[in-house]
């Protein structure tokens, strides 16, 4: 141990003696370079803004970050048996405030972590920022994990070889939902689409999934009534039906509302008694507090002890990204970044993730294959892929964009 540390310090001392100005400015030697057996993983995220004085369902400030901490703990527990150590460098990006200098951009944050020697960065950021970071770090050999952005273009026309996607794409989410609806024979859909860009993309994905699984868009309306679901506390509402749901022939209402502005207002406000699914109601997701099979109960307990709250989908996705690095390091018994990247991209690589089957990355677009949970607020309703949906490779490839239809052309980064 002592001998190793001395040897590792030597290059830093040499740099100091040589009078390198950069080395003098940085008091501690770059950790990743100093410890051959240590893997430092970066996380760049935007903490949720402080909630209003009363918000029953505010996102916690450490959403995502707590998942990273759990993964470091899990990786370390295994790492100590193989001489590997894990550490986290988390960067919380501030939101721009009027009159103040522009806060650090994701690209600046990523460059800073790269300069510290980090080779694996997890991003919990929107699609445009993910792309900006990926392009800024192109050719650096740094591997990025997209833990939050569901945009299909990141796995399609705008795909990048240096990104692995842990977050399920919109196409995977809507395919999971469509499989469930087809299984239940609820074929006639009434699609209600919100005003935001993400809502429109979600609705497009839903239409593609409907076609794929033999469902029919029986009616379609834009939502133009504002964030009624968010106003629930301001005005006591009374029983009333949304007039625009009158006179339609459908089995199930599908809401496309990624921001959560109105989707929760639709159930019980339709003229006809119809279930609501989509971004609210019955939703496809990666994680839910009611998941306890496949060992998930243990992960839920570990998380709750660590964070003092329930694990959320973003926590799980960030956890899965960091565990991917750990799993590759255990399986290859190395901490060499280049070897780990090759291992993760290898089609034979698998990641256990409390879903009853091994997860893996699709070679054609680097999307994590994973079962998705179909949940309502207090219960797990189903798990996609539903039984009977078969595929020549794995049933998991019935969710999302398959090899023959992908627009992604991965080129060496």
């Amino acid at each position: 141990m002592v001998a190793l540390r001395t040897a590792a310090l030597a290059p830093a001392l040499l740099a100091l003696l040589a009078g390198a100005p950069g080395a003098l400015a940085q008091t501690p030697a770059p950790p990743a370079a100093a410890q051959a057996s240590e893997i430092r993983i970066g996380l760049i995220y935007r903490p949720a803004p402080a909630p209003s004085s009363y918000d029953a369902q505010a996102a916690p400030e450490d959403e995502g970050l707590a998942g990273a901490k759990l993964a470091i703990q899990d990786n370390t527990a295994t790492g100590r048996f193989v001489g590997q150590r894990y550490a986290l460098d988390a960067v919380a990006l501030a939101t721009a405030a009027p009159g103040e200098p522009a806060p650090q951009s994701p690209v600046e944050a990523a460059r800073e972590l790269a300069a510290k020697g980090l080779r694996f960065l997890v991003l919990a950021l929107p699609a445009d920022e993910v792309l900006a970071v990926a392009d800024a770090l192109k050719g650096s050999g740094i591997v990025l994990f997209n833990a939050a952005a569901p945009d299909d273009r990141l796995r399609g026309a705008d795909c990048r070889a240096n990104i692995f996607h842990v977050a399920p794409s919109r196409a995977m989410q809507t395919d999971a939902l469509a499989q469930f609806l087809a299984f239940m024979r609820w074929r006639k859909l009434f699609l209600i689409t919100g005003p935001q860009d993400g809502d429109k993309l979600w609705a497009e994905a839903m239409k593609r999934s409907a076609k794929k699984f033999g469902l029919q868009i029986a009616a379609e309306r834009p939502w133009t009534f504002g964030p009624l679901a968010r106003a629930r506390g301001d005005t006591p509402t009374r029983a009333e039906a949304l007039v625009f749901t009158r006179g339609l022939d459908y089995d199930v209402a599908v809401v496309a509302d990624e921001a959560g502005d109105f989707g929760d207002y639709v159930p019980f406000h339709t003229v006809d008694p119809r279930p609501v699914v989509g971004t609210q109601g019955l939703v496809p997701t990666t994680w839910h507090p009611t998941l306890e099979v496949w060992g998930a109960a243990q992960a839920q307990n570990r998380f709750r002890r660590l964070a003092g709250r329930l694990m959320r989908p973003l926590d799980y996705q960030v956890w899965a990204a960091l565990r991917t690095v750990g799993e590759a390091a255990f399986q290859t018994k190395t901490t060499d970044p280049a070897a780990l990247m090759a291992a993760i991209a290898d089609p034979a690589f698998t990641l256990p993730g409390y879903k009853g089957v091994a997860l893996s990355y699709r070679p054609w677009d680097h999307q994590l294959r994973q079962p998705l949970l179909l949940v309502q607020p207090q219960a797990l309703v189903a798990v996609a892929p539903e039984q009977g949906y078969l595929h020549q490779r794995t049933p998991l490839d019935t969710l999302g964009i398959d090899l023959p239809e992908t627009q992604c052309r991965l080129t060496k980064s």
Binding site: D74, A77, T78, F81, V82, G295, Q298, N301, R302, F330, Q331, K333, T350, L351, P352, G356, V357, A358, L390, T394, P395, L396
Partner: protein, 326 residues
């Protein structure tokens, strides 16, 4: 105080029960994870003769050396319940560390080695003194527990670390770690102590490890027509005394694989109930019992004829199974 006075009375009741009961036959005990109970099956009649309430989330289950006591991990109550097999009453509860899941007893009957799933450790428990002798840190979510026939090496598998940890039972030190496939659930030594079989639930394989060199010498895979690879999730493994056959429970594939333990060839897949996890032989190894979690039943396999002869409904979500030594 009053407890002491009760004793003669209770002894009389036990004696009466003994006199009334027929000659003791081989008995199978099944822990029902969601039923918080143990189902008792008589091997001669293959019927459930009693259902005993135990602590919450019973999983690991084993019978003491002489068959008089039954040990059940009550995972959610952080204890091991000890039941009198004649009365079905809990006679004591042992401190087993947090979330005990599986355990194995030393060949002499004491101590008990317990995997604490939520706490990344193995607890060594003196069951006579109800005292923790040692706590051995292992990987995340320790589960499978195997003991070499001479009792010198304890093996624990950790489900999230994906390793078989070899532990010296004298020094309580981890002496080696062997990486296996994802989510190792069960560890079983061959009778000669030379090989260790470890199932990997998510990996879909069984690794056979040479105990001397601690290298994986064979990885057994399974293929079943009409069943996806994802559904093949090996959990329980049992080897016959003669070293000829291995039985592997394949979880949601709803099959038990029969493997030639010398050539490692899969010979047959026996259809059983849904989500089959744990297995136990009768002492004469003529029958093998399986716990089928989703269908809430136990399948009985004729070991000689390699056929499933019966399914017996038990409690909710049967998890573990143990058989009395008689």
């Amino acid at each position: 105080m009053s407890r002491h006075r009760m004793r003669p009375a209770r002894a009389a009741v036990v004696a009466a029960a003994l006199l009334a009961a027929p000659a003791h036959a081989t008995t199978v005990y099944v822990s029902n994870e969601k039923g918080n109970s143990v189902s008792v099956i008589d091997v001669d009649s293959l019927k459930v003769t009693a259902t005993w309430p135990v602590g919450r989330r019973p999983r690991g289950i084993t019978v003491g050396k002489d068959g008089s006591l039954l040990y059940v991990c009550a995972s959610d109550d952080d204890r091991i319940d000890v039941l009198d097999t004649k009365t079905g009453k809990i006679v004591r509860s042992l401190r087993a560390g947090p979330d005990p899941e599986q355990f194995i007893a030393h060949p002499s009957g004491n101590p008990l080695y317990v995997a604490n799933e939520d706490d990344s450790q193995v607890t060594v428990l003196d069951i006579e003194k109800n005292k923790v002798v040692a706590e051995v840190p292992v990987g995340v979510e320790p589960e499978g527990m195997g003991l070499s026939p001479d009792g010198s090496i304890l093996v624990n598998t950790s489900e999230t670390t994906n390793m078989a940890h070899f532990i010296d039972t004298k020094s309580f030190q981890v002496i080696d770690n062997v990486l296996v496939d994802a989510r190792p659930r069960f560890a079983e030594f061959s009778r000669d102590g030379k090989f260790l079989w470890v199932s990997a639930e998510v990996g879909g394989t069984v690794s056979v490890i040479d105990v001397e060199t601690r290298k994986v010498v064979k990885k057994i895979t399974f293929k079943i027509p009409g069943v996806t690879d994802e559904q093949i999730q090996p959990v329980g493994v049992r080897l016959t005394k003669d070293g000829g056959k291995a039985f592997v429970a394949l979880g949601p594939a709803n099959r038990v694989a029969v493997v030639d333990a010398r050539t490692y060839e899969v010979q047959k897949y026996l259809p059983v109930g849904q989500r089959v996890w744990q297995l136990a032989f009768t002492p004469d190894q003529k029958l093998l019992f399986t716990t089928n979690g989703t269908s809430n039943d136990v399948s009985v396999i004729d070991v000689e004829g390699l056929r499933v002869t019966k399914s017996i409904p038990v409690g909710l979500l049967p998890w573990g199974v143990a058989v009395s030594p008689q």
